[in-house]
Every structure is written in C-alpha cells, then in structure tokens.
C-alpha cells in the first residue's frame, strides 16, 4: 500500500520528550495497564501497538489527562506532571487526535479547528483569519479540507483530517494519533505519513497508536508493543519485522486469509440500477448500477466520502434514493421501509459502529437482539406471543453468540460501550450474520479491529459466501478487498469509475482508479515516494495569520 519511508533515525537518539514510568490502571476487575514504561524521544515517531483491549487507548488517555493513572509517573521534558484534564495536557504541549471524533457537527471546519484557541480581532473571533489558518495548515500538510464546510456534512475521513488540523493548529509538541488510519484510504494514509514525517523532522514527537503492522514499519522510528496491559516488546523499527511484531502482539503467528476462489456465482441477489442519491445537481451517489450474485463477494473500493456510505444507506433504506431501482432477490424494494427490506433478506454491518451500529448505553444482549426481537426464539411473528419478547431467550441467545464469536465481555448485561472497539464489532457482526440473510452489506467490517479478529471476520465473510450468501464489501483497505472480493468496483465522486475481476485487480490499478480514474495520478505510489523526502521550511508562525 505504501512504500516504507526512511524510518530509522540517523544519528544519536535525542532526549526523551515524555517518559511514562510504571503506569498502572484498573477498571474494576479489569487491569488495563500494568507497570507500563514508555519513553518517547523528541522528534521521533513512536508506534504503540497492540490488539484491541491491550491497553493502548487507556495508556494514551492517561498521557492526555483524560484518565488518571492509579500508579506510576508521567514526565514531560524530565519533569513529573499531574494532569487534571486534557487542558493541562494541551498546556504542556500535548495534542491528541482521537479515534472517535470529538467535533461539533453543526459548526464549520474552521470553527472546529480553532476552537479553544481562536484568532481574535477586536474581541471577536476573526473568522477570516481562522479560515486562512485552516487553509494554510491544510496546504502545508497536504490535508485536504474546506474551511467553510459544516463538519456534520463531512465523511469520516474528512472529519479526521479536521481533528488532525485541530491538533496542528495548537502547535502541539507531542502529537498522539489514536488509530489515525482507521478511516483513511491508501492515498490519504500516504499523505498522513508525509504529515507525520514532516512533523517529526520539525521536532514534534509523534505517538502513533495502531495495530497495523505495515504502518508501523512504514512510518515509525521505534515501537512499543502492549499485550494485556503489559509491554511485551520494544523495538527500533529498523530491527523489527512483521513476524516479530505479530509475535509480540499476539504471542502467536498469523496466517493471512486468502480468497480461495469460488465456482460460478449463482442468481442475482442484490441489484442496484441507475441509483442516484441526494440533490440531483450534486448527488452523493450518481447513477450507480451494480449486481451481486449469490456466492459472490463484490468489493467496493474508494476514498472515504465518495458515495459508498450513501449507496449503502440507500440500499438499506435509511436514506431514500432520488431515482433508480433497488431489487432484493428480484423484489423491488426501493420504496419500502428498512424493516421490510431486512425482512426481505438484507443484513448490514455499518461503518459507524458507535453512531449507527450499536447503542452504547444498552447491554450487549440488547444490542445483539435488535432486528431479532420480533422473530423466534426471542419474539414471535404470529400467534398469541406476537409482539412479546422472552427475556430468557434473549439472554440465552446473547450468551451463545458471545461464546461463538469470542466476544470479550464480563457478561451479556454489560453495556456495549464498555467493550473495546473490536469486541463491539464482533457483537455487530454476530447480530447481522445471525440473520442468515441472503444479502449482506459489510461496510468497513474490520475497521478498528485487531489482527486476530480481522482474520476471523474475514473467514466469516468467506464462509458466508460459501454458504450461498451475496456480499457487498465496502472497504478502504485495498488489501482486504484483494483478499476477499471476487470482483472489485471503484467509486469516485459518487460514480463507479472502474471494475476489476479478482484476477485483474492490483493495488496499483485500484489505487489509480480511487484517485480519480485514468486522467489523475500517473502512479499511485508516486506520492509515497515523496514521503521520506525531508521538508525544507518549518511551519510559519501562526501569529502571522492573527491580526491583532
């Protein structure tokens, strides 16, 4: 996906910017961190790796003042610090880009970026200076954004760029990126790595929290691996290998799932014909047609925000297509309700797990029940028990799925919000797959999920196909599409701009199509080649933008 950059630091190691010494943190009976030591050297990129629930996010939350450690010490520039909240951490020069966006949806990009450190003019916020600042930052770091756009209207990828800009605006000396690439496309990842490299070269200390090995190898200088809240490996990236990192993360080796190929696909199960979504002048989805057959996985590649999500929403029925036809198993469902479409044989694993795929305050059992609550064994579709639920059956079924999908939880009554991202995703997948629906739409099914879980999710999708299911797989990970899909469509600007069979598809060809089809991007890896190049000038002083 990306070519490795000049990761290894040349010259002698610089002084530590941050030291975490013997950090411990418990949540009730769960030990999240246990005696963790971490040294971040100034101007280096330090990857913190681990599977879901390994304690990475907890550790970073303590570093950023969101949580207080139960034991241990945090030192910034050699001096012990105590953060009572993120504001203290920001004042100490830390910046954090969260995995879950913390933005004001109804405000503009510029307002979000400067929030808390606004350029002012005569006591009022200087909106023009703010917009100029955002433009300047986004150009300098290659983070494409529109300062006047309302954040709520942006795609996940674009929102994350706003988050990054926000930290950059505050001139953070220590930048924590929590799973920053989870919602980014390959080309966006490449430019993010350029940003990271430039920032590090300019003296910023970057912490990259991730579980993706190729990212660690591509961009970091040092790696610390966590497992079950303890440090299980420390490497200079130049000396690390995929195998050694996987071993430290999981304690075992991982075989990547490869598409075993299928026989001939069966009848058409999902048919989308000339579907347009949104205002016809600026449609999110523009005249898209596609068909998914039984026993087939069709991949949809594309940079986040190019209409994939809206297409899925239109097929599910949470958004109405403005024109076109959608057929499920031959039945026209374009004007039907979500419930009817699901009843007709549709299951969907949504992209936005917290916003759409779960209700964080409800229990695991309740989360795994929605959609199954009117059918046996929990409910009944006819007879006297119609409309009523058996709580006993609900719990029994939840326990069964928890065991079957290896969900790490204290029990089916635990709120799903308390689970790690990967475990919550397993709940979503268990719920949707257990419909046994002929058509499955999987949107970013492995986003924010650890290596071991990715493998099992991929295997589940392949099993689903083997069982005659039709799968539409929307993913920003080309490697995932190559591993699973029989055919790959590429969406750009709301249109399907390319289609490849599994045999034809390569990272390069898909990447080129994702970047805007034939006319754009001579080679998809051209940007990556630029990545390691040293930057010339450091960022201009932000004050130049702020009119007094």
């Amino acid at each position: 996906m990306t070519s490795p950059s000049a990761a290894a630091v040349t010259g002698e190691p610089s002084a530590p910017a941050v030291e975490l010494v013997g950090i411990g943190k418990r949540f009730g009976a769960v030990v999240a961190n246990d005696g963790v030591d971490l040294v971040l050297r100034r101007g280096s990129v330090h990857a913190v790796m681990g599977e879901n629930g390994a304690g990475k996010s907890t550790l970073m939350s303590m570093l950023f003042g969101l949580l207080k450690p139960d034991s241990g010490e945090i030192r910034v520039d050699g001096a012990p610090v105590q953060f009572d909240g993120p504001l203290d951490a920001i004042a100490a020069g830390l910046g954090m880009v969260h995995q879950h966006f913390r933005l004001f949806d109804s405000m503009t990009v510029a307002d979000n970026v400067v929030y808390g450190a606004e350029p002012t003019k005569g006591g009022l916020i200087d909106r023009r200076a703010a917009a100029a600042r955002v433009r300047e930052l986004s150009e300098r770091y290659g983070l494409e954004t529109e300062p006047t756009a309302v954040v709520g209207s942006l795609s996940a990828g674009a929102r994350q760029r706003v988050e990054i800009l926000k930290a950059l605006h505050r001139d953070a000396r220590i930048l924590i990126l929590d799973e920053p690439t989870a919602v980014l496309t390959p080309s966006e990842v490449t430019s993010l790595f350029t940003v990271i490299r430039r920032a590090a070269d300019a003296g910023t200390t970057v912490v990259l929290v991730t579980h993706k090995i190729h990212e660690v190898l591509a961009v970091s200088d040092e790696v610390t691996v966590l497992r079950d809240g303890r440090v299980t490996g420390r490497f200079a990236t130049s000396e690390a290998t995929s195998a050694s990192l996987v071993h430290a993360m999981t304690g075992r080796e991982i075989d990547e799932v490869r598409n075993p190929g299928t026989g001939t696909p069966g009848a058409v199960a999902l048919e989308v014909e000339h579907v347009t979504v949104g205002d016809p002048r600026t449609p999110a989805v523009h005249d898209v047609s596609l068909a998914v057959h039984r026993g087939e996985i069709v991949g949809v590649a594309g940079v986040s925000g190019n209409g994939q999500h809206e297409l899925v929403a239109a097929v599910l029925g949470t958004v109405q297509a403005s024109s076109g036809r959608i057929r499920l198993l031959g039945e026209e469902v374009g004007s039907r309700s979500v419930r009817d479409r699901r009843a007709a044989g549709l299951a969907v694993i949504p992209e936005d797990r917290r916003g759409e795929g779960t209700a964080v305050t409800l229990s695991v059992a309740e989360n795994v029940t929605l959609g199954h609550h009117r059918t046996a064994p929990i409910g009944a579709s006819k007879g006297l028990r119609r409309g009523w639920m058996s709580i006993r059956a609900e719990r029994a079924r939840a326990r069964e799925l928890i065991a079957d999908y290896d969900v790490r939880t204290s029990g089916e009554q635990q709120p799903i919000g308390a689970l790690s991202g990967g475990n919550a995703q397993k709940v979503v997948i268990a719920r949707e797959l257990s419909h046994g629906a002929p058509v499955l739409i999987a949107e970013q099914p492995t986003q924010g999920v650890d290596v071991g879980a990715i493998e099992s999710i991929h295997q589940r999708l392949l099993d689903y196909r083997a069982g005659g299911g039709a799968v539409l797989l929307v993913s920003h990970e080309i490697s995932e599409l190559l591993a699973l899909a029989d055919r790959i469509l590429v969406m750009y600007s709301g249109r399907v701009v390319a289609e490849f069979t599994a045999a034809e598809a390569t990272t390069a060809r898909i990447g080129a199509a994702m970047a805007g089809a034939a006319e754009a991007a001579p080679a998809p890896d051209a940007a990556a080649a630029v990545a390691p190049a040293p930057t010339d000038t450091p960022a201009p002083e932000p004050e130049t933008d702020r009119t007094p």
Binding site: L66, L67, D70, L370, H373
Partner: protein, 359 residues
C-alpha cells in the same frame, strides 16, 4: 486536607469514584440538593427550614389526610406516565396540560349527554377521553416526522391552544348558565367514578391509573414495542438502521401519552366536585410534578411510583407548610424546578461517562 498516608488515598478515591458512578447518585443528589436550596431560601426568609419541612411531612402523611394524598399521588403518577412513555424514546411531552384538559372536557360531555347506566357510562367516558386526548397527543408525531417540528416544541405550543379552547367552551358554549364560575353542570350520578369504600378522595380512578402503570411496566420490559422504545431512546440512528419504524413508534408513544393524560383529566372531572371547572385541572400542577417524577425516574416504569411519592409529598405538604410554617407553597414549585435542573446536568455527566469508558 493535609492527610498523611500516600498509599490508601488513591484507593479511597477509587472507591469514592466507583460509588459516585452508581446510577442512583444523580437522582438522589438532585433531591438532596433541592432540599438544601429550599432550606437556604426558607432560612433567608427568616423562617426555620426544619419546621417547614416537618410541616410538609406532617401535612402529607397525616393518616387523616392519606386518602387525599393517595389521590394526588395517582394523578401525579398518571401525568408522569404521559411524560415517561415518550421519554423512553428520547422525546419530551410538554403538552400534558392540553391533553389532560381535553380529556376532562370529553369525559364531562359524555357523562352529561349520553344516557347510559353508570356501569357503561363511566368506562365510555374514560375511553372517549383517552381517544380524544390520545389523538391530540399523537398529532405531534406527524408534525415531527413530516415537517420536522420537534415534539418537545409542538406539544409545548399546542397545549395552551387546547387549554384556551376548553376555557372558551366552558365560558361561552357549554358552561353552566347562571354560574359565576366557568364550569359545567354537575355530572349525574351515573357519570361519576365509583367510590372505593367510604374514601372521599381516592376512588376507582386510582385503580385505573395503577393498572396503566402496570401495563407500561409490562410493555416496556417484555414487549417488542417497549424494546424498540428503549433502543430508539438510546440511539435513534441505531433504531432506524435496525428496522424500527421510528415515525410510527413516535405516533404510538404520543398517542399513549396523550391517552394517559386524558384519562387523568377524565378521572379528576368524574371525581368530587363532579364537574369540569375552568382552570381546575391545571392549577394543582400535576403535569409539571408528573414530568419531574418521570425525569427523576429516568423514564423507568418501576421507579415512577417511587419518585411520584416525593412530588406528592411536596405538593400535598406544601399547603400545610403554608398554613403552619408560613412558607408560601410556591416553594414546592421551586424545589421541583431545582430537581429538574440538576437532572438536566445528568445528561452532560452521562455523556462524559460514556466517553471515558470508551477511552
């Protein structure tokens, strides 16, 4: 402050933090805070808070008063239902007054004009009130789904219209001729709620309200619709994605809420003094007390009877506090208000909590 040991302190703090996270802390804290603020106000007026609060308790829990206290508890529970049913799906019904008054008017009209024996007339009047008020409440659902007017707004704004229309009808159309007060004639004996033994305030209406609360509890915890209400209340997008027809659900919830309020109105009218008097349904403030009880219970059906007790005590005891401690009864309204404000803060706390637990 300068306590000595370093080791036990984080542990004690952790215990405290765990204790503070208990779901009962915020509601109880709200009540305690309200009582403290009330005490400060009373003390500032130069009176003794303890005497005043003692008067509240004595007045409401006096065995001779219990009959009356129970009837008020029933009305507050009924209006709490009107707020709690939509609250379960995250909607606020602020139109309880209008729904209740329309129910009262309908029941009065039926009782006065339909010539049936009591065994049929009483259920018919209650049912008619439920239908009219339910329809009125349900009006807010299509306004929200089709025109994007939030339910909290449309209920709030439609309510005074209904109150004004009923007031107009009482004054100029169906009111008792020759009466100085705008009121209907006395309902005939057939159109009155059946008495419970020799109690003078509590009657069969109280049993109807208790039955409604039981029904809400069962539907909430055991039915598919109740499950959908909770799911939508927890995350509306999740519900829509999962196939819940949110518009229909809102319609049903608002209809049920309106019906509950209408039944309360019908019961009040069909109880002593057996007539609909202009303003008499609204002035005791059952709607607001019920809303406060529903909020304090977080919409949970099992807690509503308990939280309603608190507001009943304030409501009933307020009058005797005025008499014996010379503290204006409006103080009960102040206390209710403080409880609601503190509970509004709870939303913020909850949000922080979920963010932290996911961090």
């Amino acid at each position: 402050m300068t306590s000595t040991p370093t080791k036990p302190q984080p542990r004690a703090r952790r215990l405290l933090a765990t204790a503070l996270r208990h779901p009962a802390v915020v509601p109880l804290g709200a009540v305690v805070l309200a009582l403290l603020i009330g005490a400060v106000i009373i003390a500032a007026a130069g009176l003794d808070p303890l005497t005043a609060y003692a008067a509240v308790l004595e007045g409401s829990l006096d065995p001779r008063q219990l009959d009356y206290t129970f009837s008020v508890w029933g009305f507050i529970c009924g209006m709490a239902l009107a707020a709690a049913i939509p609250l379960r799906m995250g909607e606020f019904n602020l139109g309880g007054n209008g729904q209740m008054v329309l129910g009262g008017l309908t029941a009065a009209w039926v009782a006065l004009n339909v010539p049936l024996p009591g065994i049929l007339l009483v259920p018919l009047a209650v049912l008619a009130a439920a239908i009219v008020s339910g329809g009125f409440g349900a009006l807010s659902a299509p306004l929200a789904t089709r025109f994007g007017i939030p339910i909290i707004i449309s209920t709030l704004l439609l309510s005074p219209i209904a109150v004004a229309v009923v007031s107009y009808l009482l004054r100029f159309q169906i009111g008792e001729a020759g009466s100085a007060v705008a009121q209907t004639p006395r309902l005939p004996d057939e159109g009155r709620m059946w008495a419970l033994g020799d109690l003078s305030y509590s009657n069969t209406g109280l049993l109807v309200i208790i039955a409604m609360m039981v029904a809400f509890y069962v539907v909430d915890s055991r039915s598919a619709v109740g499950f959908e209400l909770r799911v939508v209340g927890a995350n509306r997008r999740f519900g829509a994605y999962g196939g819940v027809r949110v518009g229909r659900l809102a319609f049903g919830a608002m209809a049920a809420a309106g019906a509950a309020a209408g039944i309360v109105g019908a019961i009040i009218v069909m109880s002593s003094p057996y007539r609909l008097i202009d303003g008499a349904l609204i002035s005791p403030g059952y709607t607001f007390a019920g809303l406060a009880a529903a909020l304090l219970a977080g919409g949970r059906p099992a807690l509503i009877p308990v939280t309603a007790i608190l507001f009943t005590i304030l409501q009933v005891g307020g009058a005797s506090m005025e008499r014996s401690a010379d503290v204006p009864r409006q103080l009960s309204d102040v206390l209710q208000g403080v409880v609601i404000v503190v509970l509004a803060l709870r939303t913020v706390l909850d949000q922080r909590r979920t963010e932290r637990s996911s961090a």
